[in-house]
Amino acid sequence: MERNMGGWAIAVHGGAGVDPNLPQQRQEEAKQLLTRCLNLGIDALRSNLSAVDVVELVVRELETDPVFNSGRGSALTAKGTVEMESSIMDGLGRRCGAVSGLTTVKNPVSLARLVMERSPHSYLAFAGAEDFARQQGVEVVDNEYFITEENVGMLKLAKEANTIMFDYRIPEAGGLETCSAVVESPILMNGLPISVYAPETVGCVVVDSQGRCAAATSTGGLMNKMSGRIGDSPLIGAGTYACNLCGVSCTGEGEAIIRGTLAREVAAVMEYKELGLQEAVNFVIRERLDEGKAGLIAVSNKGEVAWGFNTTGMFRGCATEDGFMEVGIWD
């Protein structure tokens, strides 16, 4: 195997498509979490953990923290419950694992990894996935654990927004500030107001010092979604992809990401058109999204890191072995 001349690199995201009126406190909270996750990943890389170990580790952290829409803090289904999904891919051998419809598994990304490594399959969902979780002895909790007060409020707004498209203020409850989108021309994602439906899927991509790439994505999905709805995050080639050339994790409008097979697209243009990482990311964001709104993070086997989005903002952070580190939200 060729020695990786570029060193390791890591990127994380907490969703593309951010409400421009997001209160400063929320923005700070998000940046702190991203920074913490990056540092976790960096420590792991310095300890020579493999790329797939690092992405799992980092996404577990993102799932555990209620800030973004994954694990605890997941968006709620129309029934008021949580149904989580995740996928992970190891560029070495293009092994992959995915799960959907989880209701009690504390860390979906870890179950996805077990599907990859301990089952003869690549993707398990709903009752079958939950059974597998118990067989494997992973940590399970009540569905209530994942539900936050804030999201209960958001679900209520989402149901109201389905009939009336104005007034997006979060109900006053335990210190939550109001957060109103511009009434005249609300920013929409998935055809719905972003202040309520912000995707906030999480993901991580890593290339380790051996040049191996990996990617992982995790989410609670769309607020007020139909029970049983699956988005792009657990779909290999759409929300997540990794091969010997790169690792990619996407977020945004699920439909657009699936139709555009976005994660695979980045790798395909690198492989078949021989574009470099940043060129590939730019190409995909510019050409493959039509009217869709999405963002992605990516690393290459040469130690490069890149991101791109055509939304208003994307929660993201990245770091490379040579000391570069950056966390951001806006353009």
Binding site: P120, A125, F126, A127, G228, I230, I236, G237, R264
Partner: protein
């Protein structure tokens, strides 16, 4: 130009010794389904309508691993999945974990056309089917004695298995090899270059409950854009990893390969030997059927009169 259509009933280690009583009904079914598709194209139906129609026929036929005739999960139940995609708009619909819906492909189409989502699964999908008034039957209606026997054999051999290995003969597992297939699919293009793809399956024999394969994953088992339409079959896990359906189109677009070259490249380079096959048509009316397995149940026709119904390699 002219229209073109291709359909498949699964790729895998189809033994050359397949006895006539197992070969003929399938050949007859392929012939019938091809005719259904050709008639529809001649009647100017859109490719999207055509692929749905043909896949419905294949689902209703108990000789293929979709709808009635679906292989069984490890618990002896049926969990069906399907996917449909319209090349022009790239709109798509997918379903998984169906147990009572007679035509999974039609539910996938309804998801595509009547919801803001792309993919619905398990209880949520079943509930939606009832809300939409789709035909449902008791799950036992999909189960055939052959598949009960296949499951029994697979459990004995402790492996997931192909759908068409003869359940009655007690041959040793090695004779049949370890290929895992089953799935039906159809791709079509009309005179104006509109493309569509559809795939449907019961999955793998003895699969874990809740297992999802390549069929409902856009870019893996099913894909269509303005260049081509592709439906794949074979070992689901390999097809997912190889993003088979998407890569055919990507090779045409990014490397300038022809449809035939792209399909051949994908089955040779992107997936291990013995794991996959596909049918594909291009916007220019070309068609190709490629597989790296012993055989693939398939049928195809083009407007200029070409027709083929086959199982093993043609040459």
């Amino acid at each position: 130009m002219g229209w073109a259509i291709a359909l498949h009933g699964g790729a895998g280690d189809i033994p050359l010794s397949l006895p006539p009583e197992r070969r003929q009904p399938r050949e007859a079914a392929l012939r019938h389904c091809l005719q259904v598709g050709v008639d529809a194209l001649k009647a100017q139906k859109s490719p999207l309508d055509v692929v749905e129609l043909v896949v419905r026929e294949l689902e209703n036929n108990p000789h293929f691993n979709a709808g009635r005739g679906s292989v069984l999960t490890t618990e002896g139940t049926v969990e069906m999945e399907a996917c449909i995609m319209d090349g022009k708009t790239k709109k798509c619909g997918a379903v998984s974990g169906l147990t009572t819906v007679v035509n999974a492909i039609s539910l996938a189409r309804v998801v595509m056309e009547k919801t803001p989502h792309i993919y619905l699964a398990f209880d949520g999908a079943e509930k939606f089917a009832r809300e939409q008034g789709l035909e449902t039957v008791d799950s036992s209606n999909f189960i055939t004695p052959e598949n009960i026997e296949r499951l029994k054999q697979a459990k004995e051999a402790n492996r997931v298995q192909v759908d068409y290995t003869q359940p009655v003969e007690k041959e040793t597992p090695t004779v049949h090899g370890d290929s895992q297939i089953g799935t039906v699919g159809c791709v079509a293009v009309d005179n104006d270059g509109n493309l569509a793809a559809a795939t449907s399956t019961g999955g793998l024999v003895n699969k874990m409950v809740g297992r999802i394969g390549d069929t409902p994953i856009i870019g893996a088992g099913t894909y269509a854009n303005n260049l081509c339409a592709v439906s794949a079959t074979g070992k689901g896990e390999a097809i997912i990893r190889g993003t088979v359906a998407r890569d055919v189109s990507a090779l045409m677009e990014f490397k300038g390969l022809s449809l035939k070259e792209a399909a051949a490249y994908v089955v040779e380079e992107c997936v291990p030997r013995g794991t996959a096959g596909l049918v594909a048509v291009s916007a220019k009316g070309e068609l190709t059927m490629a597989f790296n397995t012993t055989g693939m149940f398939r049928a195809a026709a083009t407007e200029d009169g070409y027709t083929e119904i086959a199982i093993w390699p043609s040459c």
